[in-house]
């Protein structure tokens, strides 16, 4: 067991898989010699060579398109989008090609591509370095969509994603790279060094795709969340004085509806939290699932807390960000409802 932050855990996942499988290659902007702007691929090119850790031109559509061709030719590419905000030039290749290749060829062709993309806010990145576009991708059949909330899950889920024969969009909440973040920018930054989920096995292990995780058991209310919001939700529950059951969804697609359903049926109340904008956001899918599966167990309307339906701001980041006070208020409202 080693103590790792999320950057080190992700690096370790790629290292382990490149060691095990000569078909695993990494490509993306600045990922090679420099080791990535967030350092996630540091040292990999030196260890595995320029032909397996490939610095790419600034063309996300080209990166994804080439990764598909590589995947068809037997490689297992990991493509890094420098920021999730930059993924859109690759959107057509992801949606029209990568996601549907297996289906349109009745299984004769497929491309086992993993696309890593640092997402989310809290780093003063403004509207082009803070977005959470997961809901755009969960809407696309054929993709798996993952967002870890801690180093242990990040490594285990990334290994699962690389090994998976289906395409995986792997969102990394960049505010969590170096430590858990409970949503209050006034608090001193914390690191993963002292956190139990910063303890990461040095070698190979997996966290399965398609399984959510109850990170805190509770009786009063279920909070469904993922990524940075897993930590915000825990702070919010403390603020509200609520015995909240907190579910880290982790794999957004395909969804582990059983874990969610079991929790909400137990507590009878549910708050859904994500950083992404609210309208047509992923929370709507969670809410619909809860309504369909748990309606007769509910004691209060289900509530969503999300980013406002505006572009992600620079100066007013903390007014925008669904921080612990907003989440706590929602929890209190749900608990007070008849």
């Amino acid at each position: 067991m080693a103590q790792m932050n999320m950057v080190q855990a992700l690096n370790s996942a790629m290292d382990v898989m490149m060691e095990r499988d000569p078909g695993v290659v990494v490509l993306g902007e600045d990922v090679g010699y420099f080791g990535g702007v967030f350092r996630c691929t540091e040292g990999l090119q030196k260890k595995y060579g320029e032909a397996r850790v490939i610095d790419a031109p600034i063309a996300e559509g080209g990166i994804v398109g080439c990764a598909i061709g590589m995947g068809v030719n037997g490689l297992r590419p990991i493509a890094e989008m420098q920021f999730a905000d930059y993924i859109y030039p690759g959107f057509d290749q992801i949606v029209s090609e990568l996601a549907r290749l297996r289906h349109r060829t009745a299984g004769d062709f497929f491309a086992p591509v993993t696309i890593r993309a640092p997402c989310g806010g809290g780093i003063r990145g403004g509207q082009t370095h803070s977005q959470s576009p997961e809901g755009i991708f969960t809407h696309v059949c054929g993709l798996k969509v993952v967002m870890p909330s801690n180093p242990h899950d990040a490594k285990g889920l990334l290994i699962s994603a690389i090994e998976d024969d289906d395409p995986v969009i792997f969102f990394e909440p960049k505010r969590l790279y170096h430590g858990p973040f409970e949503g209050d920018p006034e608090q001193p930054a914390t690191s993963w060094a002292a956190h139990p989920l910063g303890e990461v096995p040095a070698g190979y292990y997996t966290v399965p795709l398609g399984r959510s995780q109850v990170v805190r058991e509770g009786a009063d209310v279920t909070v469904l969340c993922y990524g940075t919001m897993v930590h915000v939700a825990q702070a919010a529950a403390r603020l509200a004085g609520a015995d909240a059951e907190i579910v880290d969804v982790r794999t957004l697609a395909p969804l582990d509806a059983d874990t969610i359903t079991a929790s909400v049926r137990k507590t009878g109340r549910c708050v859904i939290v994500h950083e992404a904008t609210r309208f047509s956001g992923y929370g709507a899918e969670l809410l619909a699932t809860v309504q369909e599966e748990c309606f007769y167990h509910l004691e209060a309307p289900v509530t969503r807390v999300a980013g406002w339906d505006t572009p992600y701001p620079h100066a007013f980041e903390w007014d925008y960000f669904p921080g612990p006070r907003r989440v706590a208020a929602a929890i209190e409202n749900v608990l007070e409802a008849a």
Partner: protein
């Protein structure tokens, strides 16, 4: 300065009712263009992007340095594949008009573009076609029955009813799947070639796009990545003059040949007469040899003419002269190869008539067999629940539930609805 002088809208040389005019084409005489070594530096061969490589002259003779050494058997195989491609094309177009197919796209007049390239490449080379490349399948020996079954979306459809007609693929024959989103296959071909180089394998990739979709970002991504990594790939632009209703000027063809775009990327670039089987064969061989020796990608612009409609959904007489094809200066690819075989190989008109009758009979037999496997509307049909397979490798639970819901719908009787018949 007038408004029209500042805002330029390209106009084709002729619209319906006007006389066809292909004077805008830059042509070279057969045999006039020099053939550099396949390992030539791009800098030294830039003129190839502006010249036009042609081998067959008006008398059917193969002339000049690009005339390939090619045996009579290969030539006759090429002719046979082109004739079969045309017979296939003709039959399926008529079947679409009779309502057997929902849609079809002809290849008429562009047979050499695919067939000559397929014969010039090796069987292990991976092909990334666009939608007017069925000749690649036919030249590589894909059974026309399988192609027809795809077009019919029947019980033996390779795509299991998931794609419109003509969106073929053939994994065993190393031919990739066709996408309706244009030019997406271009960077994929480059990525495939990059992987071949990374794995130190000798196979190369080849991709095709129409001149219209060179305007897509994917075209430029492909050229950038191919240049940067010196990918062993042959990138073909099939310039058939028309992208549905817009002539090649709307993709930027008024200013420079499409081949010249490769020069900006430092990629070897060649214009070739796309209706000249021997020229297409020779240029493809040259480019493939260059790729195999580590000199990277070649961009080939094939000058040809889309003789039919874009698809069965448009009427070309609405946007171009009805008889424009008759004025096309580069002839018909089948006629030209036939003339060459007659001039060189003792082939004669009777042989040609026999070949055409034989290939047509083969298509008729294939069609009858394909129909016996059903169609979109006639049994035997695919199980509609096949829809849920292959979305993922293993079907997730939500899709199992949706599949079961679709099955259950068959037994559902609306409470207030009419009684079922029978």
């Amino acid at each position: 300065m007038t408004q029209t002088a500042r805002f330029h809208v390209p106009h084709p040389s002729a619209r319906p009712g006007e006389a066809p005019d292909f004077g805008y084409l830059r042509l070279s005489a057969a045999g006039a263009v020099e053939r550099p070594s396949p390992d030539a530096r791009v800098h030294d061969i830039e003129h190839l992007a502006y010249d036009l490589v042609r081998v067959l002259d008006d008398d059917g003779q193969a002339v000049g340095p690009w005339a390939p050494s090619i045996d009579g058997e290969t030539l006759r195989a090429g002719l046979s594949a082109m004739v079969l491609t045309r017979a296939f094309d003709d039959r399926l177009l008529r079947m679409q008009r009779q309502g057997k197919l929902s849609f079809f796209m002809q290849t008429l007049g562009e047979e050499a573009v695919s067939v000559a390239a397929a014969l010039a490449l090796k069987p292990g080379d991976m092909l990334f076609p666009h939608y007017r490349n069925v000749g690649l399948h036919i030249a590589r020996g894909h059974n026309p029955v399988e192609l027809m079954c795809q077009c019919l979306s029947n019980s033996r459809d390779m795509c299991k009813g998931r794609q419109m007609p003509i969106m073929y693929h053939w994994a065993r024959g190393n031919i990739f799947s066709i996408s309706g989103n244009l030019a997406t296959q271009f960077p994929q071909a480059v990525g495939w070639a990059m992987a071949a180089a990374i794995k130190n394998e000798q196979h190369i990739a080849a991709g095709w796009v129409g001149e219209g979709s060179t305007a897509e970002a994917d075209f430029h991504h492909a050229l950038t990545f191919a240049a940067v990594y010196r990918a062993p790939v042959v990138l073909n632009v099939v310039n058939n003059q028309w992208a549905i209703s817009t002539f090649q000027g709307f993709a930027g063809g008024e200013r420079r040949p499409f081949a010249a775009r490769g020069l900006g990327y430092g990629i070897a670039s060649i214009r070739v007469d796309g209706n000249d089987f021997l020229a297409v064969f020779a240029v493809t061989r040259w480019a493939a040899e260059r790729a195999r020796m580590g000199r990277g990608a070649t961009l080939i612009e094939l000058i040809t003419y889309r003789r039919g409609a874009h698809s069965t959904s448009d009427d070309p007489s609405r946007y171009r002269p009805r008889d424009e094809w008759k004025a096309w200066p580069l002839g018909d690819p089948i006629d030209r190869l036939q003339a060459h075989l007659i001039a060189r190989d003792g082939w004669n008109e009777a042989d040609q008539a026999a070949l055409e009758a034989d290939r047509k009979a083969h298509v008729d037999a294939c069609w009858r067999e394909a129909l016996s496997y059903g169609s979109m509307t006639e049994a035997p049909r695919l199980d509609q629940c096949e829809l849920f397979e292959d979305v993922y490798r293993d079907m997730p639970r939500h899709l199992i539930a949706q599949r079961d819901a679709l099955r259950a719908l068959a037994d559902y009787q609306p409470k207030a609805g009419p009684a079922p018949e029978g």
